[in-house]
Symmetry: C2
Subunit: 598 residues, 2 copies
């Protein structure tokens, strides 16, 4: 068949695949895969986010799922392509309850990677395009209510006389995007957020903050940014967009509301969550509870001897007020990741004396190189011109199994080392400790494995290299004195303001405090792949721990990630919640075990 | 050449056209047109909105404009098509200062209709797509200001220490869309609006109001509605969208601000406009003044004997509070157009006794028929599926010369008469006076000629036909008594609430009061084509009077129309203003004469 076109080869593979699935003979199915193969499923076969690696895993999954899933109607979606002996194909398919979109990589006539994703539940499609509502009901209707009256009724009753099905704790970008999808799916949802307005979590950060990811990567669902949106949006502009988006999407958003305590009532099969809304305690009883507080927990503040004796101002980077409050002072920033670099640069730009204390090596990825080498193919003006909008890009991204993702990234960073050799050389000369991840796979793998350890360079690295930002590397703060800090190498640095750019603890601490330590431990560690690299202990999980999928605590979910992940994975989390809301059977295959707590 | 493909025929026509234009021989150019021909130009050749009808008019325009315009680079944009012996072609072209998009209809090898439109000024393109700004300036910059600081600075200085180049009076949909385009073009602009918030002009209307035009027709520039937006958006939802849009587009919008007096300072060549902003008088000195107050003026309230003796509540439809304020009362509505029908229906739906007094015949266009027969081809889900988005639809719409537009519409309404014969029959049986316009060309021509005389039926006609809404036709109110009204046929109707759904006066009244009667008369009548049909006196103008183009008052402009018109024509008005802001030469060809005042 080697003379057949990529589309012909993909089509016949899909036909054979459907036959094999229909036969129910798992050996027939696995025979269509390479020995070294991966099947990633986003809730369409497994009601889970899971990657099956190898024939046995695929066979086991199918023996368990096939009878319920009843897959059918596999069809090529567009012309397949071939590059480096690998055929790339997009296809649509159906299951008993849903429609799906898939991606296939063929080596020869056998599947190397397969992605299956759920796009919509049959009978519960979104009211969009030809299905959109009319808005004005034509004809005459006694005592009809206006859109505004109905909207106000909902806001007056939901959470009081009516209970939401889903409660989302955390009204940042993640909570907002998930709520927008649930709104479209008609699932009664409330978002609670401690800040007053949507977007405040961005507005409250230091004033020079801009997105480190480019616009093509950052779109929210349903309402893409206008075509003049800046490549790197300033944080207050993002804040305004989130506020507008929340309003337009008709999200039931409770600002100035803090979650106090959550308890799962086994008997009722529902949560009891006490929230304080603008001073008043209200008990909500949602069936599903989603934590959208970000994937990290409380600020990490190391306990350094003498801290209590410090005469100046000390705060975590998340509380950093920006340069205006530091005029004329000597600032020491402990840490060397994104926030540390951004804060140091803003201070230098305002003529403030600043020193960065680097404790461990950091990966530096110059923004322009990152755009061109790592993201450009999927998220850029060129990609859009080539027909790869963010919807398609997200799926391409999802189609690469985590197990082999690093092998896609290593060449990118090898190229970056060459391209930016001059900067890297001068940074090392300045004493900066550099790394590219344990296996040289760079920024995104570090993000997935540990969520830290890097800086997307938008200018500060030059300031470190040329000494404008003073650097003390191979060092830590050994003790804090009233007007200075003493480093491990004995240096004493004068210090009026001490910034702890020391990252965040585990997300589980939120769970432990808000629900209980038992539930936090039952859910276990959040984020990370189990890659057995620095700060990502094994065993291998194959997917991010506990993200966007069922956890070991019934009816408790965790949502978050960057704008790209929140956008893409909110689709699958919203479909999981919708299915449960409608009482569909959702047998979860291979619920992940918990290997680490906190 | 009859065996040549439509694209070949269009291509060779464009080549011949460019040669003829380059030769400067106007006779060579007109030889390429049918005797019965039209060339409509939207500011690309004439710096005006003007249609040349016939060879002589085209020759005259070219003799005057060609030397400045220097047209070139005419090229087919996509495959041309042919239907009923007419070839349809889209093309791009350039002038000395701009890039343009055009549309051509060929009969045989000669042009029947030609449309030329300006899309952008060379060197002043919008910063979109690949030209978008970076947002975050990478690198280190001493004392850089954040987006928020710059935005706040602008809001603090513009209108005070800095003067806007353009002042837009009226912050409804029209003013907002124009301001958004000027923002993109970098023209300093302020919008003043008497209501507090953008969208209030919609929010303040009667509660059941929904758009009568469908979503595909209603998009604003740059930010289309999400794909689940209702077909007919409720007015409060539209209000929220406009408010969000104004914020996101970074428009300098002064709410709670009323324009008091405007005077053109000949010596300075600028306007002096006194506005009251939240109680404080401020004098603005813009170079260009745009009236975006809608195309109609003050509410028409007929002076009826006894009005002062009326014991109940009487108000114009624009002030109608809706049914809640009318419970248990007897309501008489004078008038039979859109507002009258909407108000009567809402009253009936709330069990309120209501009578419509019809003075003159009205055109009824059932909404569904209007969608399918009149708009469907250009503005619908199907149109979008066929690749006709609203950008293309707007241009197709613009490509039909007003002189022959009615001939495109008459067949549509002949079809509507058949399709809705039953409703029309029952309406006439109920005594309702029906018409389809003087020449049977229906709703849109009535809208263009006189801006009144119709109802888009979303349900009220059935209530009129079946008597739920009581009808007194061939009638007017002769006198008003304390608790009743007496009609011309002698009937006395008990009346607690009297609603004047009697339309609006001429837009010039705004000009007369805000500037001066002299300037109002110099500008002359606004809207209407000079079709010599009812309420649209001749002579023939060929375009809407004074809309979106230079008026006879220097540096004074009028903007408005429905959402479709405000969206499309704001493009050409913004380009005219930008060209003047940048000091480009903008010789206006054939400034329209004034034939009617007020």
């Amino acid at each position: 068949m080697s003379d057949a076109s990529p589309s012909q080869r993909a089509t016949s593979w899909l036909a054979a695949f459907e036959n094999a699935l229909t036969s129910g003979q798992t050996s027939q199915v696995t025979a269509l895969f390479e020995a070294d193969c991966f099947w990633r499923d986003l809730v369409s076969f497994t009601w889970n986010i899971a990657t099956q690696e190898g024939h046995q895993a695929i066979a086991d999954m199918l023996s368990s799922c096939l009878k319920d899933v009843k897959p059918s109607h596999f069809a090529l979606k567009e012309e397949a392509t071939e590059a480096d002996g690998v055929v790339d194909a997009w296809f649509t398919f159906e299951t008993a309850v849903a429609r799906g979109l898939g991606h296939l990589r063929l080596k020869g006539d056998k599947a190397w990677t397969l992605l299956t994703t759920m796009t919509e539940l049959k009978g519960f499609e979104e009211h969009k395009g030809p299905r959109r509502i009319k808005g004005a009901e034509h004809g005459a209707h006694k005592h009809r209510k206006s859109w505004l009256e109905l909207r106000q009724e909902e806001q007056d009753t939901l959470g009081y006389s009516e209970q939401p099905y889903v409660l989302i704790i955390g009204g940042g970008q993640g909570g907002i995007m998930l709520a927008a999808r649930l709104r479209r799916l008609g699932v009664p949802t409330i978002v609670v957020e401690k800040n007053a307005r949507p977007g405040d979590s961005w507005r409250n950060r230091y004033k020079t903050l801009c997105l480190h990811d480019p616009v093509w990567y950052d779109h929210l669902p349903y309402l893409p940014f206008p075509d003049d949106w800046p490549v790197f949006a300033p944080k207050d502009k993002v804040g305004d967009w989130l506020e507008m988006y929340t309003k337009i999407m008709e999200i039931n958003y409770w600002g100035s509301t803090t979650a106090q305590k959550a308890h799962f009532n086994e008997a009722q099969g529902e949560w009891e969550v006490v929230v304080n809304r603008a001073g008043q305690d209200i008990t909500l009883k949602p069936k599903q509870l989603v934590f959208a507080l970000g994937v990290s927990g409380y600020p990490n503040i190391p306990h350094i001897p003498g801290a209590e004796s410090f005469a100046g101002d000390q705060h975590h980077s998340s509380k950093h007020p920006g340069p205006d409050a530091c005029k004329g002072k000597k600032v020491v920033v402990l840490g060397s990741n994104n926030s540390a670099h951004d804060i140091c640069a803003a201070l230098w730009e305002n003529d403030i004396d600043v020193t960065m204390v680097q404790r461990s090596s950091t990966h530096i990825a110059p923004s322009d190189s990152l755009m061109e080498l790592a993201l450009g193919g999927l998220y850029s003006e060129e990609a859009v011109k080539n027909g790869i909008d963010h919807h398609k890009a997200d799926l391409v991204f999802a189609s690469v199994p985590y197990k082999i993702m690093h092998s896609f990234h290593i060449p990118v960073y090898d190229e970056m080392k060459k391209r930016d050799a001059d900067l890297y050389g001068r940074l090392e000369k300045a004493g900066f400790m550099l790394d590219f991840g344990d296996d040289g796979s760079g920024l995104f793998m570090k993000y997935l494995r540990r969520g830290s350890g890097y800086y997307i360079d938008v200018g500060a690295s030059e300031l470190v290299a040329n000494g404008s930002i003073k650097l003390k590397s191979h060092n830590n703060i050994e003790r804090i004195n009233p007007k200075s800090v003493t480093l491990t190498d004995g240096t004493e640095l004068p210090c009026d303001v001490l910034v702890y750019a020391t990252g965040y603890g585990s997300m589980n601490h939120w769970l432990a405090d808000l629900v209980s330590p038992e539930v936090a431990d039952r859910v276990g560690k959040v984020w990370g792949l189990g890659s057995s690299t620095t700060k990502d202990p094994g065993p291998w999980e194959g997917e991010l721990r506990n993200m966007w999928k069922p956890t070991n605590q019934q009816q408790l979910w965790i949502h978050g990630g960057n704008l790209h992940q929140s956008r893409h994975y909110s689709q699958f989390l919203s479909l999981q919640l919708k299915a449960r809301y409608e009482g569909l059977s959702t047998p979860v295959y291979a619920q992940a075990k918990v290997h680490h707590v906190r």
